[in-house]
Amino acid sequence: MLGFSHRSLTNFLFWVTQKKWFLVTMMVGLILLFLPTPVGLTLSGYRTIIIVITALLMIITEPIPLPAIAMYILVAEVYFGIGTANEIASSFMNDAVFFIMGSLMLAVAIIKQGWDTRIALGIIKLTGNKTANIVFGFTAISAILSSFIGEHTVAAIMLPIAMTLIRFTSDDVSKVSNLSAVLLFSIAYGCLIGSIGTPSGGGRNAIMITYFRDFGISISYLNWMAKVYPLVLIQIPIVAWILQKSFVPEYTHLDSGVRKLAIQVAKSRKLTGRNTVAAIIFLFVFLGWVFFSETIGLGIIALTGVLCYMIAGFVRWEDLNRNTHWGVIILFGATISLGVNIKATGAAIWLANLVINLFGDLMETFPLFSDSIIVLMTTILANVLSSSATVAVLGPVTLNMGSDALHTGLVTVIASAFGYFTAVAAPACTIVYSSGMVKAKDFLKVGWKVGLMSMVLLVIYANTYWLFIK
């Protein structure tokens, strides 16, 4: 046919099969491009929205590599006349991207230190051998740690501890399937509920702080904690309770598992001076975030920490290079650039008005409805996208949806952590899922309960507690 061999036709069809979502996305983009610009929206604003829709479709379906999606966003912004090459380049890089880069590198440096054995010992000492206490302990430790150092780092550290405890409880995994699920979900969900606690808990928090700054709002590290941390603490026991009701553990006490874990931890190498110095460096990074992030920036402090680890020889560049996902960093940079341009072109206000016009009456009648809409939109997107990408593109819109941008911004960033429903949305869930001990459908089975609880709690919390601590 037209001189093409069967082999080249097969290769072409295979490409079509593999890239079908890319082709669908381009079709959607082309159709939207030829539709008239909606009333009240500038041409560049409309084109920015088209790039958002097409980029989101590709991030969800991953038909091309993530860095390629980032490149698509950047070149499309220039070709569509949304900004000049230099303008787009400067919107691509800011402190939030530095923070994402720094926190991914810090994760490598910290995970390599082998603090998991110390943490395991700490959990055992705190919780004893009662399963209910252990589940609470795993949820609490995961939440508290991830509120400072990021969910992916904590999930990577906690997973081997939980898996060892499960293995020591029974060699037959089918006999401890509920125990496995409850412990692994306590890590994943603990990490998610904790990641909102402080600005350094996740890249999305840093992105929102950058957006706040553009709105002339400044929020310190401690002020963020004062507003958000109580919600973390309230959710810990509720999540632990829901998990134990959903997956009733086979054992009420884990005597032998805890004893064997304690023996294994005792056998591991003792704390060295090197470990102590590594911990001190992280302590300084943390103090830097608390006291100087408003002036220096979260990202610069994170990178200072990485620099110290490298100078001290605690992590090699080869390890950082190999284990840091540069494609993710480039993509977050591109989505932030998109977020900046959603605001600059007026698309953000137009989209915010669209939502207000749609639900205006309900918003006036029911005061909590506005927050409910933001929470629902963000949660849905966060479960199909990544949470950082959700905040990057949704943040500029929700910040325009109410009179108090700090309120709507914080509601957005907190709801972006509710990626409970799927195994792929949040890194903590993916890490736990990669163990092979929990099934994809389990995330939906328990995720809807935790998700509903978190959503309702957030709306109530934001409209009660925040009124008192303005």
Binding site: L13, P65, L159, P160
Partner: protein, 294 residues
């Protein structure tokens, strides 16, 4: 001759491995056993990799290694690998990682030179296609899947003969159902039929299906040639002539007590993509193992 056996889990892949090893023995083929693990979201590949490194320091193997270990035990039990390898046990320490997406271990076989165990991660069709293209396998052996898309993609995109071990029961007494017509694929299918019949030590039904009452000369010649080859090879074979829809007739006669062998479709890839093909119809509807020879 090179054979690729795709396994997925210890629970469901035993029949595939059982049939695969028998066929590999019959062809004296260089054999590779591959496990394709689930695709990880690109957002989390690095952190998942980092977590697996930590897991290894706590003596946990990365997912998939247990499947290779199980395959190794099976090979050892059947004495398909040399005794020194069996004595040394699963060579976890000699696993070689290539490009971060393919882990392999080489073993020395008893009936052929190479027996490799491979672990890959990603989309199963893309990974198998890449493996077959890079290493030029002649036959890919895989377990049955209920998904129509999967069946279609296997036949359309994997550049080797495909043996789908569907609903295989080791206790069932099978015969081979060899579809014979005047298509170019039949001659090759008959050769494979001889080897598989010898491997399993079973008889062959040579089925020729015509849509018209009058059988074409080419069909009769092909059936005679196949019967002669079977006789020469010492295989008990009988010719069966049926009138009807070829795909439906093959499925009906095969039931659950045959291993179907048929040539691949010679339709253009575009036609196969949009309209399907006879082998695809048979594969989707049959309740027994099927080998489609390319």
């Amino acid at each position: 001759m090179k054979i690729l056996i795709a396994v997925g889990s210890k629970e469901y892949s035993a029949p595939t491995l059982h049939v695969g090893i028998k066929v590999a023995k019959a062809f004296n083929a260089s054999t590779t056993i591959v496990d394709v693990g689930e695709k990880v979201s690109e957002f989390s590949t690095k952190v998942v990799g980092l977590t697996q490194e930590r897991m290894e320091s706590w003596d946990f193997e990365r997912p998939g290694i247990d499947v290779l270990e199980w395959a190794f035990s099976y090979l050892a039990e059947k004495q398909f690998i040399e005794p020194q390898y069996i004595e040394a046990g699963f060579p976890k320490n000699t696993l070689v990682e290539k490009d971060g997406r393919r882990i392999e271990v080489y073993l020395k076989g008893t009936v052929c030179d190479d027996v490799n165990l491979i672990l890959r991660n990603g989309d199963i069709i893309a990974e198998l296609r890449d493996e077959v293209q890079t290493e030029s396998y002649d036959v890919t052996i895989i377990g049955g899947s209920g998904k129509r898309r999967m069946a279609h993609d296997l036949i359309q995109y994997i550049d080797s003969s495909i043996f789908i071990v569907k609903k295989f029961d080791p206790d069932q007494k099978y015969r081979i159902l060899l579809a014979v017509d005047d298509s170019p694929g039949t001659r090759r299918a008959v050769k494979y039929g001889v080897r598989v019949a010898q491997a399993f030590d079973i008889g062959v039904d040579l089925l020729t299906v015509s849509k018209q009452e009058q059988f074409k000369e080419g069909y009769k010649n092909a059936a005679d040639h196949a019967a002669k080859l079977m006789r020469r090879s010492g295989i008990e074979a009988k010719n069966v002539f049926e009138v009807g829809d070829p795909a439906k007739t093959i499925v009906d006669i095969a039931g659950n007590h045959h291993i179907i062998i048929m040539g691949a479709s010679t339709r253009s890839p575009l036609k196969k993509f949009f309209k399907g093909s006879k082998p695809l119809d048979v594969m989707e509807n049959c309740s027994c193992p099927i080998l489609i020879v390319k």
